[in-house]
């Protein structure tokens, strides 16, 4: 979810790609040959500095330790709605001016809301770093919202929901699968919110949420680019360090999932479906809750089973058996309380989803019975480690990786040492992790298909 999307085919492609990256290796990075600076301001705000001196620009991000999973009952979507509203005004900045000021200083800005965090960023020439810091610090405490702001922005968010979700059967199915996977924990509620609840969000709701969570001790500053830790420290002290804490958000304790005991199946029939598919998600530990090497093992497992054309699933379902045209798996381990491990396959033709599901089950059954080979483990590990080198080419991706790790409770060292820790994963770790997670009673299986009766109802 973000404030707006920009007009660029590359960005759209990047977004599609992000699906894979985010779900397979987001919170992870290799020994980055960079000297990451880290310190904490007196008010508790953490700061991370990632030097990249190749171009005279910086990425400035503030992450808040609050996301959609921290919302009150009945107020789904408030974290994301508030993210939009932070682009309105303060005493110093007239409503709607924030992004315009950034733009006329040659910068770009945006924001994002996830289950566990909300983040704001600007990319700008390094001599404007102080300016965006001053502006970001200002809106951490001085937001002003009018009733008119609320009314139009709520309409915008409703349109955003229609664009992202309601117009797309595949997104509706994913939303329903999450709702079924999490029977009690708030990860089951969509980040953008249920439409009926979004429609009722008020100015009061937004301000209460803002006052409860937007305070320096609940924020993390990440600056990447052509700066030194010393420079950032001085500026951060001046603009963020002087802010007083206005709230104590307290520990982030969410309702735990009861022990999963039943296999769930979701069938979505929609006449807008052109090509059906099957998807399965398992409740898994995340990096935040995993024991030992579990999360690392799951990252390697998904690389082996379902990443790209050399994965087990692609080779079996697409190349050998020809029952699918595309298939894959993912592990989202970069969340606080739970991760998910998932599979999908799109049938070649006709669309016998039950048959296709059996093929997926065969791949899963094989790994449960026989584990993976040492050779597979070594190959996958090497690929994951090489990915982190590519990360060095993008200061904004680096900033995101560190920000996301820290905001869900990991440390800078966890990120930097991820590579070494991957080296400690054994085939037994992978077999154990698979046995723990890939149990049908922990899963939801979703079918996306056309309605059974194929009567033409359209008038075209």
């Amino acid at each position: 979810m973000s404030k707006f999307y920009t007009v660029s085919a590359t960005l759209i492609k990047a977004a599609a790609l992000a699906f894979t990256l985010v779900f397979t290796q987001s919170a992870n990075a290799k020994p980055l040959n960079i000297d990451v600076g880290e310190f904490t301001l007196d008010n508790g705000m953490k700061v991370v500095v990632i030097p990249d001196h190749r171009a005279p620009v910086v990425t400035h991000m503030v992450w808040y330790k609050v996301g959609a999973a921290d919302e009150e009952n009945g107020k789904s979507g408030i974290a994301h709605f508030l993210e939009h509203l932070l682009f309105k005004g303060t005493k110093k900045i007239a409503s709607g001016e924030f992004s315009k000021i950034v733009a006329r200083n040659g910068g770009q800005d945006n924001a994002f809301t996830h289950l566990d965090y909300t983040g704001y960023f600007q990319r700008i020439s390094k001599d404007r770093l102080e300016m965006v810091m001053e502006m970001e610090a200002d809106r951490m405490q001085n937001l002003i919202l009018t009733d008119k702001d609320i009314k139009t922005e709520r309409d915008v968010v409703k349109e955003e929901r229609r664009t992202r979700t309601d117009n797309k059967p595949s997104r509706l199915l994913s939303e329903q699968m999450s709702a079924a996977l999490y029977t009690a924990h708030p990860y089951g509620i969509p980040i953008i919110g249920w439409m009926a609840e979004v429609a009722k969000l008020t100015r009061q709701d937004a301000l209460e949420f803002y006052r409860k969570y937007y305070t320096p001790s609940n924020a993390i500053l990440v600056v990447a680019g052509d700066v030194t830790a010393g420079q950032v420290k001085e500026l951060a002290q001046k603009h963020y360090g002087v802010l007083k804490n206005t709230a104590t958000p307290g520990p982030r304790v969410r309702t735990k999932e009861p022990k999963p005991i039943v296999e769930r199946r979701i069938i979505m029939r929609d006449k807008r479906v052109s090509s059906p598919y099957v998807m399965r998600e398992y409740l898994a530990p995340s990096y935040g809750t995993a024991k030992g090497n579990e999360a690392l093992a799951l990252d390697i497992l998904t690389e082996i089973l379902g990443s790209g054309t050399t994965s087990r699933m692609y080779k079996k379902l697409v190349v050998k058996d020809k029952v699918a045209v595309s298939t894959g798996s993912w592990y989202s381990g970069d969340q606080m309380d739970y991760g998910t491990f998932g599979f999908y396959a799109v049938p070649a033709s006709g669309g016998d989803l039950n048959g296709l599901e059996k093929h997926i089950d065969a791949v899963i059954g094989d790994v449960l019975a026989n584990g993976v080979s040492q050779q597979e483990l070594d190959r996958a590990r090497k690929v994951l480690q090489a990915e982190t080198v590519y990360l060095l080419d993008s200061q904004s991706s680096l900033a995101r990786v560190f920000g996301r790790a820290l905001v869900v409770g990991m440390s800078v060292d966890d990120v930097i040492n991820w590579d070494d820790r991957l080296n400690s994963v054994t085939v037994q770790d992978i077999k154990n992790a698979a046995a723990k997670v890939l149990q049908i009673r922990r899963s939801v299986t979703g079918f996306l298909m056309k309605p059974q009766s194929t009567k033409k109802t359209e008038t075209n």
Binding site: F4, Y5, T6, V7, N33, D52, H53, R54, A55, P56, V57, F87, K92, I93, F98, S99, K100, A103, R104, N105, G106, G107, R123, I124, S125, K126, D127, E130, M131, M135, T152, R154, D155, E159, E160, R162, T163, D166, N167, R272, S274, S275, T310, V318, V319, V325, S326, S349, R379, K382, V383, A386, V389, Y390, L392, D393, S394, Q395, E458, N460
Partner: protein, 442 residues
């Protein structure tokens, strides 16, 4: 409006950028066989990015094999020379090489990224892909199945439906641009290995080739690589010319009925091409009018004031054989009529009054200042170089570019707004169940 203690002038933005561009030193590297590349050396991280482009793309695909160029782009990493598809893919994967191809209407592009330690294997795989692709039956049939499913999916995507219908109106149903670039069912079914081989032979020539490279490689090494990759390709071939489109210039509102809660509203009319003398001015104008960022006219009127759409933009769409202007928004069915009216009003208002001096100053400050953000990674720099090569802008363009933008005056931009924007010629294509709207056709 300086509300902050840090006062920033436009002058400072320009200074900042001059420094940025100076850091980017482009070397022109010419190989023994005459292949030329632009290189930006940077040894600070162990990665190499190469982007290249040939003339000839989807617009020259045979009518009965629509989708051939895209099909070719999907087949080049499916086995070459002594490597089967599985062996080729394993080599790519195990060495963490990122290799991809794509076809646009007039060009065929490739992109290779590799860790510098895997440089030799990466270039050797690319050389095989370009000079000896196998097109074996099994991978060919698999890729065909993938295309057929993707074509089916596209038929139900509201945005794709809308864009295709709009383009068909604008260039006429018989122009190559009106064909789906990723192919038709009949076209994809008709393609065989010989077609792919012929297409590759036609496209992969040295005359039309552009190559941009950044990262951990020096000019001497690159010279050899250029010969290894492209030296054996034929000098040139005949690519069929593409006819000029007779661009539609009447107003039209087309509604395509789909049962979705939100209508896709796409719109536009005739525009200009990249070589037009007013292009740079028009580019600045469209930043003001339709960039999709806060502050742009459409975003302010459609989204910020009325909450009609999450995104609202309009952009120059300069195809080689058709200059177009294209825009998009999406709104709940009940508010389509209002959205269409606001868009028409904004076209009219901008044509009549043009932007204000403040809007122009802001746009110039943004466009010149943000240019540096396109050069903060190896792969982005390679992309920028290649784009400039394709447009024949010259090796010094990066240094000149901001002064071109800054030279645009209010008089220019008002004149170009009047020349380009025509509310009475807008063609709307709406996919959904719009209410309160009279379509002029279905």
């Amino acid at each position: 409006m300086k509300i902050f203690s840090i006062v920033v002038s436009l002058f400072a933005v320009l200074i900042a950028f001059t420094t940025a561009s100076r850091a980017i030193e482009i070397q022109e590297v010419k190989s023994d066989s005459g292949v030329t590349a632009w290189l930006v050396e940077d040894h600070s991280i162990p990665l190499i990015a190469m982007k290249f482009s040939f003339n000839g793309g989807a617009a020259t695909d045979p009518l009965d094999k629509t989708g051939l160029s895209e099909f070719l782009s999907g087949m080049l990493d499916e086995g070459a020379d002594d490597l089967t598809s599985a062996q080729f893919q394993a080599a790519i994967n195990d060495n963490s090489i990122k290799l991809g191809f794509s076809a646009s209407q007039h060009r065929f592009d490739g992109s290779l990224q590799t860790l510098s330690v895997n440089r030799d294997i990466a270039f050797s795989l690319l050389a095989k892909a370009l000079t000896a692709p196998r097109f074996d039956k099994a991978p060919l049939e698999r890729v065909r199945r993938q295309f057929l499913v993707s074509i089916k999916q596209d038929k139900e995507k509201p945005r794709t439906i809308s864009t295709r219908a709009w383009l068909k109106t604008m260039v006429g149903k018989d122009h190559p641009y009106a064909r789906p670039r990723s192919g038709t069912e009949a076209g994809i079914n008709a393609i065989n290995a010989n077609d792919l081989r012929d297409k590759a032979k036609k496209i992969f020539t040295r005359q039309s080739l552009h190559v941009a490279v950044t990262g951990d490689i020096d000019a001497k090494t690159l010279k050899q690589v250029l010969d290894q990759l492209f030296g054996s390709l034929p000098e040139k071939s005949d690519i069929a010319p593409v006819i000029e489109a007779d661009v539609f210039s009447q107003p039209k509102i087309q509604v395509i009925d789909r049962d979705i809660p939100q209508s896709i509203v796409q719109f536009g009319h005739k525009g200009i091409k990249r070589k037009d003398k007013d292009f740079v001015t028009a580019y600045v104008l469209f930043n003001i009018f339709g960039s999709g960022q806060f502050g742009s006219r459409l975003m302010e009127e459609v989204r910020e004031k009325r909450g009609l759409s999450y995104s609202a933009y309009a952009t120059l769409y300069p195809l080689r054989r058709a200059g177009l202007i294209f825009g998009s928004a999406a709104t709940v069915n009940a508010r389509v009529g209002e959205t269409v009216q606001v868009i028409k009003d904004e076209f009219k208002r901008m044509a009549e009054d043009g932007p204000t001096q403040v809007e122009l100053d802001n746009a110039i400050a943004y466009l010149t200042g943000a240019y540096a953000l396109r050069f903060d990674s190896n792969s982005k720099i390679a992309g920028q170089l290649l784009a400039n090569m394709k447009l024949d802008l010259g090796i010094d363009y990066i240094k000149r570019r901001n002064s071109l933008i800054s030279a645009v005056t209010l008089v220019d931009v008002k004149r170009v707004a009047k020349r380009l924007l025509h509310a009475d010629q807008l063609v709307f294509t709406i996919v959904g169940k719009p209410k309160n709207l009279a379509a002029t056709s279905n």
